[in-house]
């Protein structure tokens, strides 16, 4: 570990939906295949040791392990050129533990536009994997920790639970009625984009789209073919309504086309079986009086929005619990970084002790006069053994303190006591696992 490396630190620079509108963010979006080259260019421009670029529709962020705290200007310059405006004015910078916390919040969905959304975890993983060549021990560990804590937030809190979109609200409502939606039959009235999206969500849950009915038969045929359903005209569809469990309405009709009289007949034919009617059309396709019919569960767009709002409110209430998990993981990551600071200290400690040993050995040999090779070797061995014995306990205790999270204070004390010179332990260079291991082996072997 060189002195230069020992002064590097973690930093994140970014532009997100918090700070910039979409027309600005979209200029900073990097396609998946561009990411590796882009981060390589940023490393060249900044001189940073490691880098990962996270680019989604809501944020572009670069995580760097910098040698000197002067990388930000180079990143802003590169991004300003791409944007055609001053990127630093709409960006943010976090350093050290704040940078780690920021990534943990991002990966957990706490920093997302829809709190708790799940997609971001996969995007963080993709970013890390795309930048494997340009990341080292510090960022590998950082991203591993971020994905780990995101998983814990997902499983140990309810921050990701509940519907966060109208489509998922429709699924949640249908599930509260039918339990599993596998093999439930659905009829769709209307063949527009909204109907297609909503139907996709239902089909993903196992719903069988049996009928797509539309005034424009060709469009009905297209949507029906996509989901393996039958296309029909409206008049024909009413006769098969009694066989379906879910009715999804999304036509552009200016007046309700699903009337109480039609549904009353259907409900009668269905007996006690519930019918779920999801009306996502504006203006509404279903007469609200349909709601009064026994065993019919009618939900319109306002109801679905109410489910979404209720879920989001509960998600927001879970954020403090998620933040507590993050606190623990940030501290753990900080401890790990601190443990790395022990390595240069131990190396310096050993070098200093060996220097003293050699000087004292040379003086002793001069005083002793001519010695046989065997005697010379025995004296030299004695000096090494004494040095290793003296170093053993401090070495073991330094490593233990680092492992227990007290590394920074103990390292500072050791450097003072053994006159090892100043080192900015707060920004100490992160070192790959291999370096720690090799340093450990060097010291351990010295004990023999």
């Amino acid at each position: 570990v060189t002195a230069d490396e020992s002064r590097a630190s973690l930093v994140v620079l970014g532009v997100s939906f918090h700070t910039a509108p979409l027309d600005v963010r979209e200029k900073l979006v990097y396609a998946q295949h561009e990411v590796a080259d882009a981060v390589g260019e940023l490393l060249d421009a900044t001189g940073a040791r490691e880098g990962v670029l996270l680019s989604t529709c809501n944020r572009s962020e670069v995580y760097l392990v910098e040698r000197e705290p002067s990388t930000t200007q180079a990143v802003w310059s590169a991004w300003s050129a791409r944007l055609g405006q001053d990127a630093s004015a709409i960006g943010y910078v976090h350093r050290g533990s704040d940078a780690a916390r920021h990534l943990f919040r991002v990966a957990s969905g706490l920093d997302s536009m829809v709190v708790g959304e799940a997609q971001i975890q996969g995007q963080v993983r993709e970013a890390w994997e795309s930048c494997r060549a340009s990341s080292g021990a510090v960022l590998h560990r950082l991203f591993q920790s971020a994905l780990l804590v995101a998983g814990r937030v997902r499983s140990e809190t309810r921050v990701t639970r509940g519907a966060a979109s109208v489509s998922s609200a429709a699924v949640q409502l249908a599930k509260q009625i039918f339990g599993s939606l596998a093999d439930r039959r659905a009829m769709v009235l209307g063949a527009g984009e909204t109907a297609d999206l909503a139907l996709e969500c239902l089909v993903a849950e196992g719903v069988r789209a049996s009928v797509v009915a539309s005034r424009t038969f060709e469009r009905a045929k297209t949507l029906a073919a996509k989901h393996g359903a039958r296309a029909m005209q409206y008049d024909e569809a009413w006769t098969t309504l009694a066989d379906v469990d879910l009715l999804l309405c999304s036509t552009s009709s200016p007046v309700p086309i699903v009337t109480p009289s039609r549904i009353r007949d259907v409900a009668h034919a269905r007996g006690d079986r519930p019918l779920c009617v999801l009306d996502i059309a504006v203006p509404r396709d279903v007469d609200p009086v349909v709601r009064e019919i026994d065993n019919v569960f009618l939900y319109d767009l306002d109801d679905l929005q109410a489910v979404v709002q209720s879920s989001l409110e509960r998600r927001r209430n879970e954020v403090p619990a998620a933040e507590r998990l993050l606190d623990a993981e940030v501290a753990r990551y900080g401890d790990w970084l601190a443990s790395l600071s022990v390595v240069p200290t131990l190396t310096a400690f050993r070098a200093r002790m060996d220097d003293i040993r050699q000087r004292e050995l040379a003086q002793a040999l001069r005083r002793l006069g001519p010695l046989s090779p065997a005697q010379h070797a025995a004296v030299e061995q004695l000096s090494r053994a004494l040095m290793n014995k003296f170093m053993h306990d401090p070495t073991v205790r330094l490593r233990a303190a680092a492992a227990e999270g007290d590394g920074l204070d103990v390292v500072a004390a050791a450097r003072y006591l053994f006159a090892l010179g100043d080192m900015d332990v707060a920004t100490v260079a992160p070192t790959p696992h291999e370096e720690i291991a090799s340093a450990g082996r060097t010291i351990d072997s010295g004990d023999e």
């Binding site: 509940g162 509260q176 009625i177 339990g179 026994d294 569960f297 939900y299 209720s310 509960r314």
Partner: protein, 268 residues
């Protein structure tokens, strides 16, 4: 020892219900494993109490008001435990566990005075009748609990209230399935129990009016629910409503008959 075991069982039932209710008061998931473990502990403690009671009485704890009530409570808790283990769903605890706890407490308050009952083949015949009848009543109670929850959840869904009940109660289809299965089990248990009772009455020429009225009423109620489902295709709200109302009616009838003329210390 009996009192301790039964108190422990009641505490476990109430504790399980409280834990199952936790998500209604703060945003946490229901601790399914803990609820099931607590319920299982209660059932084990209850069983230990019943075994000790059997040894003290020298007969199965099925005869007399106290032993009968606590046996019924045990069967209700055991059937609840079985449903929850199979369904990985603990919201039924909210209704059924406190009910089992109340029955156990009532039994303890009434006391466990021994009642002279026949031994040998005749005794075994009577034991089979009482045990199957209680199992049927316990399953009927489970069906009623599921039915009541169905009605509450349905009300929330139809009135478009998306609060804790909407989120935490099982889907309507699940509650309907539990109601259906429990009704069938209840009908089988009560039918065999009533047939055994009728043949016993004929062979040994024993006629006890209140017991006959109550047993026939309970059997008719369960039969209407079960055959309405199996033959007439009743399900969902109709079945849930019918199960809840008929079970409540059977309970009220029992209390009324006891209030009117049952001998002290006897079930009826």
């Amino acid at each position: 020892m009996i009192a301790l075991a039964l108190i422990a069982a009641v505490l476990c039932y109430v504790g399980a219900a409280a834990l199952a209710a936790a998500p209604f008061v703060r945003p946490v998931a229901a601790p399914v494993r803990t609820v099931v473990a607590l319920l299982a502990t209660g059932v084990i403690a209850h069983l230990a109490g019943l075994v000790r009671l059997s040894l003290d009485l020298g007969q199965l704890p099925l005869f007399g008001l106290g032993p009968a009530l606590t046996s019924a409570a045990f069967l209700l808790a055991a059937s609840l435990l079985a449903v929850e283990v199979m369904a990985h769903e603990v919201t039924l605890t909210l209704v059924a566990a406190p009910f089992a706890g109340v029955l156990t407490l009532l039994a303890s308050l009434v006391g466990f005075a021994p009642v002279d009952e026949p031994q040998g083949m005749r005794g075994a015949w009577l034991v089979a009748h009482v045990a199957l009848s209680f199992a049927g009543i316990a399953a009927f109670g489970t069906a009623a609990a599921a039915g009541t929850m169905y009605l509450v959840q349905r009300h929330e869904l139809r009135s478009r209230r998306f609060g804790p009940v909407f989120r935490l109660f099982p889907p309507l289809a699940t509650l309907d399935r539990v109601n259906h299965l429990a009704s069938v089990v209840a009908w089988v248990g009560l039918t065999v129990g009533v047939v055994l009772a009728a043949s016993y009455a004929v062979v040994y020429r024993i006629v006890e009016g209140p017991k006959i009225v109550w047993a026939i009423t309970a059997w008719l109620c369960v039969s209407v629910v079960t055959f309405g489902r199996l033959l007439a295709g009743w399900q969902a709200r109709r079945a849930a409503l019918l199960t809840s109302v008929t079970f409540a009616a059977v309970l009220v009838l029992y209390l009324a008959m006891r209030a009117v003329g049952a001998e002290p210390g006897k079930f009826l």
